[in-house]
Symmetry: C2
Subunit: 223 residues, 2 copies
């Protein structure tokens, strides 16, 4: 029980967690550029939100800034990293080594340190039993065993819509607790598994709509 524990109890909204992850990315850049401190309105500018929102978000992780000087970049980054991530490297599985899957694999390098796609699965034999971008590719038949062996808790689904539910079921049974789903189909899973859907087609259609009609406003919500 040496892990530092937060008050918890209060549950933090998905929206807020998403923005905290953005703040972390921005702070990583600021620290790299040797910035000492940062104001809420500067963070707001960088992420497209409002200063009040930034402060409210940072409240939930108990960050403190000093009036007139703002937040200490290094300290804030450390708090965010500790809050958002588990200690150690977070291992991620990818299912579906198509075009999208390969794009994700090539991203995996640039990702936040501590977040890595360590296993990829596909049903096509010509895509398996090799290493792509440093990630080992397996046949889908071995999904359960590899996931359990490596104790993987997070997965990305990048398979065609028809196959998504089946894959999701297998992942859940194998012990996966969180899924990023690129298939344009809702996954029905026990509530113990967290699912984040990314539906590119839907996003495109939204943009087409608002580009045609008078625009709404450049709202920022990401993903």
């Amino acid at each position: 029980m040496s892990a530092p524990s937060y008050p918890e109890a209060i549950l933090i909204s998905e929206r807020t967690i998403g923005r905290l992850a953005q703040y972390r990315r921005i702070l990583t850049e600021l620290v790299r550029d040797n910035l000492e401190t940062v104001h809420s309105h500067q963070l707001a500018l960088r992420c497209g939100g409002s200063a009040a929102q930034v402060r409210r978000d940072l409240m939930v992780i108990g960050a403190e800034g000093s009036p007139n000087k703002g937040y200490k970049c290094a300290k804030l980054l450390a708090s965010l990293a500790e809050f958002l991530t588990q200690p150690g490297t977070q291992k991620v599985a990818l299912v579906g080594i198509g075009n999208l899957g390969r794009a994700l694999l090539s991203y995996s390098h640039k990702q936040q340190p501590g977040l890595l796609i360590v296993a990829a699965f596909d049903i096509a034999p010509d895509k398996t039993n090799k290493v792509i971008d440093g990630c080992r590719c397996f046949h889908i038949d071995t999904l359960e065993s590899v996931i359990k062996e490596q104790n993987i808790k997070v997965a990305i689904i990048a398979v065609p819509g028809e196959a998504a539910q089946l894959v999701a079921d297998r992942l859940a049974i194998a012990g996966v607790r969180g899924i990023v789903n690129f298939a344009p189909a809702p996954l029905h899973l026990p509530p113990s598994v967290f699912v984040e859907n990314i539906d590119v087609t839907m996003s495109l259609e939204k943009v087409v709509y608002f580009a045609a009609k008078g625009t709404q406003s450049e709202r920022n919500k990401s993903a």
Copy 2:
């Protein structure tokens, strides 16, 4: 002035438009499968929402279903298509022919009919002046001329974060009115340009967070 006009005036939220696009996709399948009618709770199941939500969403396009029989699939699909899309094919430009860009190109085929990536741009000479998945690839220097020539109003940005703002500015000046932005950086553009951000890293981090802590719930928001 032969185009049918909706009451308009009431402005419809981004969330709602996104869901309407989902309903359209689902209805396309239902019609293909020769389903005659569909109930709100069936649509809800298929898209991961609630029946009440479906009904409220369909209200805004003035759809009518009959009690005890639900909505006529064909009629509802027609209403949705008319509401969501402009007449004619919507041409889309893609900037950035990396892994992600190519994945999007290969999707473009399967997209809703009437939505097509017709031009792709990159800065690397070895990626330009060819045809990939039926889409012509140009050097980024020709961005303005091609976009204007083809009267393209919607674009997808799939370039590294550092280049995104520059590309966005050029797109906006060339006449683009809506952008899907995959770069993990907020775009600052006049409000006449609609921007939808898709931040894969952020989504992954959200999932990592909620997979570790007790899960929230499998909420459906997509994109």
